[in-house]
Subunit: 552 residues, 2 copies
């Protein structure tokens, strides 16, 4: 059996100008990066009617694998096969994890975006531009303190850390500024992975360069010795930081293995940020395609909810249909089956575990958008299991289709594509979860009850004190961005299925004024991953012709 | 008067395919990055006779400014104006300093390489790829220690630090691995600026991907608890690190303001590394042009010497002529004139300071290569000063020309170009400074006496002990790379002119086994710069159309 990278390398790619031409982009509307990648020049002058917006999300992720990106890519190819001009809008992968565990974020099998090596490695340099911009801001902060500290920044209250696009646990907690008076002011610091940078969220929510600069200027960098917030605007470096992102803000164009256009741009964490690709990328896909298929990170409780409540208001367009990806394996895992036993038929566990899928269906339906379930079929799934799961969904009156795009490419998602077209053309009315301007507590309670299926929200003493401060500072009605484990609907990663009557515990809040939301932290959220005992890097190689092995 | 960025922005650029075609490169031999930048696909299949190689170097740099890059670019345009197909090969600028002090590394006035904003910012991502590769290796080292430390690496003897392409003094000395057992093993660490990474030197000396991987594997990362050296090969990640540099190894093609081809690739420090652009870039320029004009960092005592002694043996081609750039201002500064008084005519100081130029002429002549002096004329230079300096050079029997490329572009360097053509076509025989295989002490003594004009080399106790160890390990006959202040021929930055009978003090050695040389450290070499009190970043901005101001 061929690996993903072998399938990818065996498929001749079309020149990117040809892919661009398929959606009416002329050579001067794109900026090539090599022969098979390009950035799309902004502002885009296309003004045809916006396409239909399809959001692909999933059940809670499990170690069994759901294949959300693979389904999304297959769906795009499937829609194109049915004659609907479709443009994908995906998130940009982070390079850090690539060196740790095998497996990229570019789909799999015969449903991939290509060139997959480049997309998973440096791509068009967006992540590196974000790293450079983020750390330049950090250097300017420490330099300000060193050079007289006119803003009276409190070195103990700098909230702007540093970042690298690397899994490097040894940088989580550091002491910097050692070495005497010419080498900075000593203080505690730490590094996050680049995708956790607020700048990534800012980039993904910006409408244009002007909006980007406005958001950058709003970013909270710390507090002064009077405990008052200090922003980038106070430091007067918003222009310089924005300038470093002048190319990163432009969406990237590549192709699927079936030579359909895919935009890959922006990839903020779906826990401490909103987990959706850029507003500009999705807008571009909507302007170029009759259908734009996009995704959100982790499950419908995290990325899905944030797409609806954080991204949609900025995007100015609500989804016309939601695709919920589930697998028999993952639902059996949710039903209590151990990882080693997932290939054995188990209808009872499947029925029990399906509660997780049902919960997510109900969650998404509350937004007033039609839901279609995609069962991403694995070879070990039995016919009885697939039939059982299909019936569970159909009994709810929800459309469902089985997909096999991993083995069959877009042909394996044509049935799903047909159901998505039907759903997206139904009359529907988007309903926000809470009215605009609701306070943070109201928002969190609504999310807990209506999306997670829980009962209540409890605040730590610190979180309570923060909310009071936020009210004084006018931050109390910003959208809330929940930072919660992706593995459970609750804030405890081990509670699978669809728990009820539980409490969400909010430990603390983190204001992300540039992104325009407040992160509510439940439990510990790791913002700098580590490498495993046998990192994938040990098995990678490149030969004299530049052919890569061991990457995926 | 227009600024550099205004002149650059006012000049319409030609499409990079057109620039490539001027030197016979077809569209499939380049990989475009936008419309005016490209990488050249390797291996290059051109096999015409190699062009003439012109090395541009200078007197010791002073705060008065020499304009070496500007002369180089003007010379290239001048040669092209005279009908000689000429390709430039320049170093790639570092982004870190751009945020600190105004002024890029892309020439000035009407002698610039463009698009200057892009070249000075992220360009084609080479620096970022190096940062990522360097820090990925660092993360893999700390992960190895964390995950059982099978190689018994001594955390107190890790020589592989971390890097960022940012001026950030607060990262010079850090403590990492804090936060308990899941967050690494605490140890002292620090960050250098990316151009100081050994990987930059490795990239610049590699002949191809295979050589790059061989060099990466040789890199010394630290010592084990038995004090034995440990390399990248021992860690088994040479393939992964090389793979991250697969695009960075390809030379970048841009154009001058006069639309002549310029290759800009690689830029290692000229003190702790060899300070020359990549071997692949220079080879490519030689394969594409009848003349290849290249440069080396700082003055002839640093970059010039290293070009001859470190780069030339790898390049397999010796220079056909050396251009030594000098200015009246810088020589007056060397003659004792204060910075504020440089615009006042002072023939005596000029004569005294010219000793610096004469020393560098003699140094370069020892390699058996014809020398041409370029007097880069500033508006404040008087006719008498220029005539005096011209006579000093002519009296040595050395060719000399005055240039005004800053004001006049290539037309201002035609006289220089004509003299360079004459010199490069003289019969000449390259003579190395010392025979291949000479030991480190012999090399250092020869450099001190024949290049710096000094008398002797003194080793610290530590350096003496290191040399003994190196002999045991077979490192004692590697080429030596002197790390010395660029401001003086001695190891004391304040001794201007051409001191005599001085001692060079070697504090310690740093083996760079991947690059293939041993760095001899004299005095303190700062490998992570800081930002000034008023960083240039404070004056930068970008408007809604992406137009940049305040960058230069």
């Amino acid at each position: 059996m061929s690996t993903d990278i072998e399938i990818s390398q065996a498929t001749p790619l079309e020149p990117i100008e040809k892919i661009a031409a398929k959606v009416g982009l002329t050579p001067d509307q794109i900026e090539p990066y090599g022969h098979t990648k390009a950035k799309i020049t902004l502002p885009l002058k296309q003004h045809h009617q916006l396409g239909k917006l399809i959001l692909v999300t999933s059940i809670n992720p499990t170690p069994a694998g759901e294949g959300k990106s693979t389904v999304l890519i297959g769906l795009g190819d499937g829609l194109n096969r049915l004659g609907h001009k479709t443009v994908l809008a995906l998130r940009e992968p982070s390079l850090g994890p690539v060196m740790g565990l095998k497996g990229g974020a570019t789909g799999g099998g015969h449903a991939q975006v290509v060139p997959m090596e480049d997309i998973n490695l440096h791509f068009t340099g967006d992540m590196h531009a974000l790293t450079e911009a983020h750390d330049t801001l950090a250097a300017l902060i420490d330099n300000h303190i060193q050079q007289g500290n006119a803003l009276h920044l409190d070195p103990r209250q700098i909230v702007w850390k540093r970042v690298l696009d690397i899994n490097d646990r040894a940088l989580r907690q550091t002491v910097i500024g050692l070495g005497g008076r010419t080498s900075g002011v000593p203080r505690q610091d730490g590094f996050d992975i680049t995708v956790a940078s607020e700048l990534m969220a800012v980039l993904c929510l910006s409408e244009d360069l002007t909006d980007l600069k406005r958001r950058v200027n709003r970013i909270l960098i710390g507090y002064n010795t009077d405990k008052q917030p200090v922003t980038v605007a106070d430091l007067k470096v918003g222009g310089a930081i924005t300038l470093l992102l002048k190319d990163a803000i432009k969406p990237n164009l590549v192709q699927t293995l079936e030579h359909n256009p895919a935009i890959i741009h922006g990839g903020p964490f779906a826990n401490i940020a909103h987990g959706c690709n850029s507003v500009l990328a999705t807008q571009t896909a909507l302007q170029l395609g009759d259908y734009a298929v996009t995704e959100a990170g982790f499950g419908a409780d995290l990325g899905g909810e944030k797409f609806m409540d954080i991204k949609t208001p900025v995007l100015g367009k609500t989804p016309d249909a939601v695709v919920l990806v589930a697998t028999v394996r993952a639902l059996k895992y949710n039903g209590g089956v151990k990882r080693a036993d997932l290939e054995t038929e188990n209808l009872d566990a499947l029925k029990t575990g399906s509660a997780n899928l049902v919960r997510h269906i109900h969650s998404m339906q509350q937004y007033g958008v039609p839901v279609v379930v995609a069962i991403n079929r694995f070879t070990s799934d039995t016919d009885a299991e697939v039939a059982t799961l299909t019936k569970i969904v159909e009994d709810l009156g929800v459309a469902v289709a089985t997909t096999t795009e991993w083995a069959d490419g877009g042909a394996g998602a044509e049935a799903l594509a047909a159901k998505v077209v039907t759903a997206a053309n139904q009359p529907s009315t988007f309903r926000p979860l809470v009215p605009a301007g609701a306070d943070i507590m109201t928002q969190m309670t609504a999310i807990t009850q209506k999306i997670y299926g829980g009962a209540r929200v409890e605040l730590s003493g610190k979180a309570q004190r923060q909310l009071k401060k936020f009210a004084e500072r006018g931050w109390d009605k910003l959208p809330v961005c929940m930072a919660k484990t992706q593995y459970s609907l609750t804030d405890d990663a081990h509670q699978l299925g669809a728990p009820k009557d539980f409490t969400i515990h909010v430990r603390e809040f983190s204001p992300r004024l540039g992104a325009g939301f407040v992160v509510a932290l439940t439990g510990n959220v790791l913002t700098m991953p580590g490498l495993p005992k046998h990192p994938a890097a040990l098995d990678m190689d490149i030969d004299e012709n530049g052919t890569i092995t061991g990457l995926f």
